[in-house]
């Protein structure tokens, strides 16, 4: 069986079925009592999930942003970067984990390489789109007033590209939260650990899945809040 080397991932989460055969737990149901008693067991996987997601987003953003700046002034780079990151984006995540196993082994690093790969295309495209969307007259005026290329980039182009870049980051954040739930296949833990350990048990699926959704929403709102702080001009009354 193909998943054999990974099967031990969720072993810690086997529930106690010794109770009454007719009990909620034994019937795989949604059991508030069980959830209340076992919620603390999800804290570590959740924190691990947050770590997987945030580190992947930070590294992915750093790489894609740098590539975006590089390609902004060297337009010929855009097509090859989109192609390469596009290929990374289309490799099924499970396949990527297995491809990486012989190279980087099981664990955090393998998971991060895969997760980062999936953020690159989204963030890169949005950085480029954001910079392309900056009004040409603002850039012309900036240069004409004596701003150097670097000053034009940091004082005019990037601030005006923030809404578009933030939009890319939000999509990447939501996607990464979802993909990180597969990281346990690479032995990297996260909410996938408890989730896949007992997919039949509705209480387990509800808590693990629910925490994933909650995390995605929180990250999305965090990026949105950051964007609003950075772009006061987009909210003025006209």
């Amino acid at each position: 069986m193909i998943a054999a080397p990974l099967a031990q991932a969720g072993e810690g989460f086997v529930r106690d079925r010794s109770g009454d055969a007719g009990s909620c737990v034994a019937r795989d149901g949604v059991c508030p009592d069980w959830i209340a008693d076992n919620l603390d067991r999800y804290v570590d996987p959740l924190l691990r999930h947050v770590l997987l997601t945030v580190v992947a987003l930070a590294i992915g953003f750093a790489i894609a942003f740098a590539l975006g700046l590089l390609a902004h002034r060297r337009r010929w780079l855009v097509a090859p970067i989109v192609q390469v990151t596009g290929i990374l984006y289309t490799i099924p995540s499970l396949a990527l984990f297995f491809l990486l196993l012989p190279l980087t082994g099981r664990g955090f690093l393998t998971a991060e390489i895969a997760l980062v790969s999936y953020t690159l295309l989204i963030i890169f495209r949005n950085v480029i789109a954001g910079l392309d969307g900056v009004p040409a007259d603002a850039v012309d005026a900036a240069r004409g007033m004596g701003l150097t290329d670097r000053e034009v980039l940091w004082r005019v182009e990037l601030p005006l590209a923030v809404p578009e870049i933030a939009a890319g980051l939000r999509i990447a954040a939501t996607t990464t939260v979802g993909l990180a739930s597969l990281a346990f296949f690479a032995g990297a833990g996260g909410l996938g650990d408890p989730l896949y350990a007992d997919l039949n048990f509705k209480s387990n699926v509800l808590v693990a899945g629910g925490l994933c959704v909650l995390l995605a929403i929180v990250l999305d709102l965090a990026v949105l809040a950051g964007q609003r702080v950075l772009t006061p001009w987009t909210r003025v009354a006209r």
Binding site: A142, M145, A237
Partner: protein, 394 residues
């Protein structure tokens, strides 16, 4: 004891930055692969403190010529000198900070408030916060914007207001040279007229050298101390004062570009005070008609003009109105009123719009100082005697 030197950027600006002379010397711009040059051997000198208007149809290279001044475009050959110094010697960014730059789309930064937009170049030059704040207030006032505009974003302004901010931003460090690329091109005619007048007012208060690009010959004639008419292919067709351009177009292209109504356009150059005014018979409401008729004998205008106690024009009277024993102001015809400072074109148009072909000319207080007749304007339009040809010595 010595006073520590002020930080470099904090030296108070000289009261007036001297305007700089601008010189094009055999400037050529040729793009690789293009058959024809964009600019072909452009040579001209703009004396310090004058407005050069580059005018011509689309594709004549006028904007290219302007953008070569601050090295936004590099000439293929030839050189450009500002105050005698070749621009090629300067770092482009450093050079541009000393040259005001205004473009049609305004180029205001949408993410910055009006005050921050104006502070762009002062910040690059490390001015102190206090100095920037003081200068911003001063500039908003100079371009006719209320101080409350400082905190607004460009999207909250009208087109005319945005262009005012654009001009204020270009004036921030008091540059000796300004480049303006169709700055009023996208603005409604009434606001454009007002902004043009304000530019001339600013220029009178503190002359600086301005390169102004437009495709509108009327704007060129109104604003330019000198006008360079360019024809497609980047050739300078004529470089002259507006009056010379209208009186003696260099060739058929200029003549066509200036327009068939160039005689009328000359009216845009003169002002009412430049013409000899005629003396009317000034009368008051309730004056005896017989006395009024006697006054007409001395006057140069055949109709008596009723004025109020402050000397302001009220009505023209004709023979029928004088049939009554005494003058009745309400019976007269409405008076066209022009100011001594109006351009002749506007004044003439006012005269033509009224039944009586005379306009009362008033001073700043509104009191009548004379009368402008359509005949006087027509005499002004009569072809001027050709400039005397230098006669060969007899």
């Amino acid at each position: 004891m010595t006073v520590p030197p002020a930080p470099a950027g904090d030296r108070p600006a000289a009261a007036t930055t001297p305007a700089a002379e601008l010189r094009f010397e055999e400037v050529v711009k040729r793009y690789p692969g293009a058959d024809a040059a964009t600019i072909e051997g452009l040579s001209l000198t703009v004396p310090a403190g004058e407005i050069l208007v580059l005018v011509g149809p689309s594709g004549c290279g006028k904007t290219t010529a302007m953008r070569m001044v601050n090295r936004m475009i590099e000439p293929t050959s030839g050189r450009i000198l500002i105050a005698g110094r070749p621009t090629a010697e300067r770092e482009p960014a450093e050079l541009r900070r000393e040259i005001g730059y205004v473009i049609q789309q305004t180029g205001l930064f949408p993410h910055r408030t009006v005050a921050d937009n104006i502070a762009t170049v002062p910040r690059l030059l490390d001015w102190s916060r206090d100095r920037i704040a003081a200068r911003t207030t001063e500039l908003l006032d100079l371009v006719g914007l209320d101080a409350t505009f400082a905190g607004r974003y460009p999207t909250q302004l009208s087109g005319g207001q945005r262009q005012r901010v654009g001009v204020a931003r270009a004036l921030a460090v008091d540059p000796p040279l300004m480049l303006m690329d169709e700055p009023f091109g996208a603005i409604d005619p009434i606001t454009r007229d007002r902004l043009q007048n304000e530019l001339l007012r600013l220029q009178r208060a503190q002359p600086r050298t301005i390169v102004f690009v437009t495709h509108d010959i009327d704007e060129a004639i109104k604003l330019g101390d000198r006008v360079a008419v360019m024809r497609p292919g980047g050739h300078l067709a004529q470089y002259a004062t507006p009056a010379e351009l209208l009186l003696a177009p260099a060739d058929e292209f200029v003549e066509r570009f200036v327009g068939a109504d160039r005689a009328l356009k000359r009216l845009a150059l003169g002002r009412v005070r430049d013409l000899p005014l005629e003396r009317p018979a000034l009368v008051r409401h309730d004056d005896p008609s017989a006395w009024v008729r006697a006054q007409l004998g001395d006057a140069e205008v055949p109709y008596p003009l009723v004025v109020d106690p402050d000397g302001r024009p009220v009505a023209w009277l004709d023979e029928d109105d004088l049939a009554a024993e005494r003058v009745d102001a309400a019976a007269g015809s409405p008076v066209a009123i022009v100011s001594r400072d109006d351009v002749l074109r506007d004044a003439f148009s006012t005269v033509l719009a009224h039944a009586v072909q005379y306009a009362a000319v008033v001073d700043d207080a509104g009191a009548v100082v004379g009368v402008l007749s359509s005949d006087a304007v027509a005499r002004e339009l009569a072809p001027a005697p050709a400039p005397a040809e230098p006669e060969p010595a007899a």
